[in-house]
């Protein structure tokens, strides 16, 4: 298995699988954090006994991931509700809390939340009072770097549960060129039972596209793109969704990222998209797709040069060149 095309095919059209390289499929799914999603897509199909067993265990693991994610959100809620600070859940935890399709099989790492920038210190203090702690290694230069330039506090970790929370005040680093409207993200957020919030559907897509394309080197991109596929299919049922997406993408200065994300989702996962919103296909879409698929049947990363190019690009996107040079210089001296 040369690249992750088999994994994409299995997610996109499970019924089309005919005597595939099962070991390769499982290894690629594990490597791309998509085993849980694969288990959801293949449920109920006639499968070799061994595969059915592996996927059954993956479903149990997904249930546990959901429990943990919701619990971290609940404990954050208990700590922050008394302060009155609006707390917006982001990424996987938001999908679980809002019961979106995208939550199925979705593993979750840290808890990511968004709060108003002017209340971020207050939020940190409330979390520390409730048992979260700063991570020791985040002292000194990196801590300063985080607070001044990044869009989040250095991560906090809970002293008993050993789980991390990332508190953001916007969805992209302050040094990146697009400047999303954080106040609008918060003002237009949707409240859930219990008081926690999630982003407006269109904003969720904008955030997912930003996360996929403007904030990283596309590592783990197949999973981010799968999130976008699942979200779009659910949100597109609302006729007002596409115009809202256009408006929000423009407001957050992320029109390019959203367009690219839609085209990649359509290209790889066959996601139904509004082609006017997605924009004309670009030659570079091919490079992005190749980068996303750069994983072979042994779970190894392939296309080293391509991956390196995207790695450089990701740092370029986060930081103007002079700042980047200064940052890398200081890190090298440390």
């Amino acid at each position: 298995m040369r690249n992750a095309g088999l994994l994409v095919q299995a997610l996109r059209d499970p019924a089309s699988l005919a005597d595939p390289d099962w070991s390769g499929l499982i290894a690629a799914a594990r490597a791309e954090q998509l085993l849980g999603s694969l288990a959801v897509r293949l449920e109920g199909m006639k499968l070799p006994a061994k595969i059915a067993t592996i996927l059954e265990a993956a479903r149990r693991d997904s249930a546990h991931a959901r429990t943990q994610a919701l619990w971290e959100a609940e404990m954050a809620r208990r700590a922050l509700v008394p302060t009155g600070i609006p707390v917006i859940l982001l990424k996987g935890t938001a999908f679980h809390a809002a019961g979106l399709d995208a939550h199925q099989g979705r593993s979750v790492g840290d808890l990511d939340i968004l709060v108003p920038r002017e209340r971020i210190e207050e939020a940190e203090a409330a979390l520390i009072a409730a048992g979260w702690e700063r991570i020791k290694s985040a002292e000194g230069y990196d801590d300063l770097y985080y607070r001044q330039w990044m869009h989040e506090l250095p991560p906090l970790i809970h002293r008993d549960r050993d789980r991390m929370i990332d508190v953001h005040h916007t969805i992209l680093p302050l040094t990146a060129r697009p400047t999303p409207d954080a106040a609008a993200l918060i003002a237009d957020s949707v409240v859930l039972d219990g008081g926690l919030r999630v982003l407006l559907p269109a904003d969720m897509i904008v955030h997912a596209a930003a996360h996929l394309l403007a904030d990283g080197d596309l590592a783990g991109g197949l999973r981010n793109l799968w999130d976008i596929d699942r979200l779009l299919r659910e949100f597109a049922a609302d006729p007002g969704f596409w115009p809202t997406l256009v408006e929000r993408a423009r407001r957050h200065q992320l029109g390019n990222a959203v367009g690219r994300a839609l085209r990649l989702a359509s290209r790889l996962y066959g996601t139904p998209v509004d082609h006017a919103v997605a924009g004309r296909a670009r030659w570079s879409d091919r490079l992005f797709a190749a980068r996303l698929l750069a994983r072979n049947g042994w779970g190894q990363e392939r296309r080293k040069a391509l991956r390196f190019a995207f790695y450089i690009r990701s740092h370029w996107l986060r930081m103007p060149p002079l700042m980047l040079a200064r940052h890398l210089w200081t890190k090298a001296r440390a």
């Binding site: 070991s23 594990r30 061994k50 067993t53 149990r60 693991d61 249930a63 546990h64 779970g299 190894q300």
Partner: protein, 287 residues
């Protein structure tokens, strides 16, 4: 990958790939007689790769990669490639096994019932289980005991036994040379030699057993048998399990059932003959 081997061990199938041939040859020799995975489908993948591209040839060093990895693990010299493969398989189980409750314990079987030996690393349970395996018991596993959540039965997982330092000579006296892998000196844990379980353990790897007795053996003290509180056992077993938390309510139910239904004891012994005598006596009592 250019060199690879696929193995079925109890209910788990591994494939181990390597850029170098030697570790795969050593692995194939150690696991002679083990079946290939059914349908060729593998649960877990281990990869032995150079840490940096030039370390493939220049002072070759093996980084342990695979489905699940430890990010800061130090690579091993190529001469210890077999150890790297074994550590890789352990890692996949520790981090990826979600079907069976994993206990860090050795287990042996007699008459369809299982004796579970657990306790601190270095207390000698691995060696003790290997020895029992040569004295009329069937070795089910020396590193991991697999508890089926639905049935409460133990599944066999007979990997090669990892013998360290003094235990190597002890087992060399008991077992024919062809069942051993190479002796590896200077490893992070001292000298290591791997030993293949006997033919019966391999042939019967698909047979489970009902847990019947749980012991905490401790080598090097005067002979003694002490009771252990159930709550203490429960706590020690959760600490000895890498996947207890991930298994949620099912794990809790299986473990409370195990702890409250089978007898247990802490056993101190000055030498192996005493130990075997104690075990026989406690086993009789547990029947």
């Amino acid at each position: 990958m250019r060199n690879s081997l696929a193995l079925q061990i109890g209910p788990v199938a591994f494939r181990v790939g390597s850029v170098w041939r030697a570790p795969i040859e050593a692995l194939a020799g150690l696991y002679a007689g083990y079946p290939a995975p059914e349908d060729g489908i593998c649960d877990f993948t281990v990869r032995l790769e150079p840490e940096k591209p030039w370390r493939r040839w220049l002072r070759p060093s093996v980084a342990i990669q695979g489905d699940y990895i430890l990010p800061d693990a130090a690579p091993l010299p190529l001469g210890m490639g077999l150890l790297a493969a074994e550590m890789g398989m352990n890692l996949q189980m520790a981090l990826g096994q979600k079907r069976y409750l994993l206990l860090h314990a050795a287990s042996v079987e007699k008459d369809g019932r299982a004796l579970i030996l657990t306790g601190e690393s270095g207390a000698g349970k691995s060696t003790f289980a290997a020895l029992l395996g040569e004295r009329g018991w069937r070795l089910m596993g020396d590193e991991f005991a697999l508890l089926d959540l639905e049935t409460g039965m133990l599944r066999a997982f007979p990997r090669a036994v990892s013998l360290k330092n003094g235990a190597i000579a002890l087992m060399e006296r008991e077992v024919i040379p062809t069942r051993f892998g190479p002796r590896l000196d200077g490893t992070p844990k001292g000298s290591i030699r791997h030993m293949r379980p006997d033919a019966a353990a391999i042939a019967r790897m698909g047979e489970g057993a009902r847990p019947a007795l749980l012991l905490f053996p401790r080598f090097g003290a005067a002979e003694a048998v002490r009771p252990v509180g159930q709550a203490e056992i429960f706590m020690r077993l959760t600490q000895a399990s890498t996947n207890y938390v991930a298994l949620g309510a099912a794990g809790f139910d299986a473990l409370t059932r195990l702890v409250s239904t089978i007898p247990s004891a802490a056993v101190d012994y000055p030498d192996t003959d005493t130990a075997i005598g104690l075990v026989d006596e406690l086993w009789r009592q547990a029947a």
